[in-house]
Amino acid sequence: MSGYDLDAGDAPPVPLPEAAPSRLARWRDSDLLASFLGSKTAMAALIATVLMVGLAFASSWIAPQNPYDPAQLDLINSNLPPIWQADGQAPFYLGTDDQGRDVLSAVLYGLRLSLIVGVLGVLTSGVLGIALGLIAGYAGGALDTLIMRVADVQLTFPAILIALVVDGVARASFGGALDVGPLIGLIVVSIGLSFWVQYARTVRSSVMVEKGKDYVQAARLIGLSPPVILVRHVLPNVTGPVFVIATINLALAIITEATLSFLGTGLPETMPSLGTLIRTGNRFLFSGEWWIVAFPGLALAGLVIAINLLGDWLRDALNPKLQ
């Protein structure tokens, strides 16, 4: 899903630039670190996130099987339960799916793929949305109208449909099946194009409020160019809400990717992401082969919850009114 605004209201005023101490020193002295160390949830969330990201990127070394290599899959090993159940077998600690794919390996590789798709998708939509939002809010006028009307059009189209178009165009122009690299690129672009509106709207409304304020007027008076004012002075004031959107969107991007594969345009079953694993695994919910969907589901939920808790804490910590 997409299409909600987190209206940030008045963003915190930016401290005037001073003779700055080193970044590290600022970080060490800041309330941020203190607040972080004080929050058990934040600590736990960070540890969980780091752990999962670490596992994901070590998957090539630690996974018992390369689930993307069809030669390593054997139907003889299909549908084995986890090791602690009666028919479990040694290298397949979390069982196997209907193709003989090791669930543990698939989860690790899938985690990596989902993270890549999610992070790249959020980055794309964030950069696009922030840029357009800044421009729209600062420039106003016809440009603003145009961008916001485009946003309206875009909101009408579910991410799924945009992906369908992007995918269709790409397939038509490249022909045949795509390799996984370009396919990831396609999905990232689809997600980027689907989620930018929220950033743009949030940033735009903040900019419209900020630009009337004295410090922007002052910056303008001393002759700074609009891009400099926008990036150096206005942007830092809207990072709070943007960050919150980004954390939720990271989860959404990963789930959107799952839904895309549901419609046959996402990552192929031979190269499963967490979402694809859940989509294919959900067929086995009633049949008692719960492990095929449960472990990818737990991994996805764990990842998303950890990231969101981290985002929550950051949001509260960044908001001076709550301190």
Binding site: T41, I160, V165, A251, G297, D312
Partner: protein, 326 residues
């Protein structure tokens, strides 16, 4: 003001036209409708003939112009698969979607606000932590999985609630409603929760954040200082101030709830417009796909328009900026 309105309406029309055009450009990639509307025995030559008859061989712009011309005259075409007027099919399905969207929104609002208020007032309690973590499940698992899990628990295992459809409906004029029968109401529960879960999480988080901010503002402190009871302060002042942005967002969300009920309707075989659309995509039923997208675009554009107008009326700052934009 009138000029502003007029301009926005013209812009809205332009948005609809663009949606239509994009939709049309997209259908080329949705697949081949002919294979879905004939049996396998149909010869190559017959298939080609049908394709020509449907005008699918024409360039996209020609097809679009023809379609736009028909739409302006109120003709949305005939569904390829059902051979029925699309307007009729959509009208039949609309009440189901609207009732589902309404219930999902009510669920999201009520539960979201209650949980949000609790989490703000008792920020450090374990229950608040639990609420926050549990609500995250709503956005951490794909909708289709949540729906199937709910069906598994409440329909198959417990046998309390139906797994599919709307139950018995009552016809009021052209509207069919599930609100008036027991089975209709029961059938609404699972899909509404599934669809509303995402919004609920959003609203809960928003209410919590807004409440935390409002509770620290001067006038709440002042109200406390005046000796009002905590409850009165919380409900009469803090919550009231929180509700404005919450309701705005909920309103804006209504459009997307309708548009994104697609997956929920598929899981629960809910006979709404979203399900019709999914079936149309699978069968490349272009008339249904275009009409649905236009309808959703219309809903979005209308909601945006209303919100913009309300903002302009309420917030002079924004009026100033739109005034400058003129």
């Amino acid at each position: 003001m009138l000029a502003f309105l007029l301009r926005r309406v013209i812009q809205a029309a332009a948005v609809l036209a663009v949606v239509g055009l994009i939709a049309f450009a997209m259908f080329r990639f949705a697949g081949d409708p002919v294979n879905q509307i004939v049996g396998p025995d149909t010869t190559v030559a017959e298939r080609a003939q049908i394709r020509t008859d449907l005008g699918l061989d024409d360039p996209v712009l020609v097809q679009f112009a023809r379609y736009a011309g028909n739409v302006v005259r109120g003709r949305f075409g005939i569904s390829y698969q059902f051979r029925q007027p699309v307007s009729q099919l959509l009208a039949e399905r609309m009440p189901a979607t609207l009732e589902l969207a309404f219930c999902a929104t009510i669920f999201a609002l009520v539960v979201g606000i209650l949980m949000g208020v609790y989490c703000a007032l008792f920020r450090d309690s374990w229950l608040a932590g639990l609420f926050q973590a549990v609500s995250l499940i709503g956005i951490s698992l794909p909708t289709f999985l949540i729906g199937i899990l709910l069906i598994y628990l409440f329909s198959v295992t417990l046998g309390w609630l139906p797994s599919y459809g709307r139950g018995d409906t009552v016809r009021l004029g052209w509207w069919t409603t599930g609100f008036l029968t027991a089975s209709g109401l029961k059938a609404l529960i699972l899909p509404s929760v599934t669809l509303g879960l995402f919004q609920m999480t959003l609203i809960m988080r928003l209410v919590r954040a807004e409440m935390l901010e409002v509770l620290r503002t001067d006038y709440i402190r002042f109200a406390r200082a005046r000796g009002l009871t905590t409850r009165a302060v919380h409900l009469r002042h803090a919550l009231k101030n929180t509700l404005v942005p919450v309701i705005t967002i909920a309103g804006l969300q209504l459009g997307s709830v309708i548009a994104f009920s697609i997956i929920t309707e598929t899981v629960f075989q809910w006979p709404g417009m979203g399900l019709l659309f999914v079936q149309a995509v699978q069968n490349v039923d272009i008339p249904i796909m275009s009409a649905y997208l236009l309808l959703v675009a219309l809903i979005f554009v209308t909601i945006n328009l209303v919100v913009d107008i309300l903002y302009t009326v309420v917030d002079p700052r924004l009026r100033l900026s739109t005034g400058r934009a003129a």
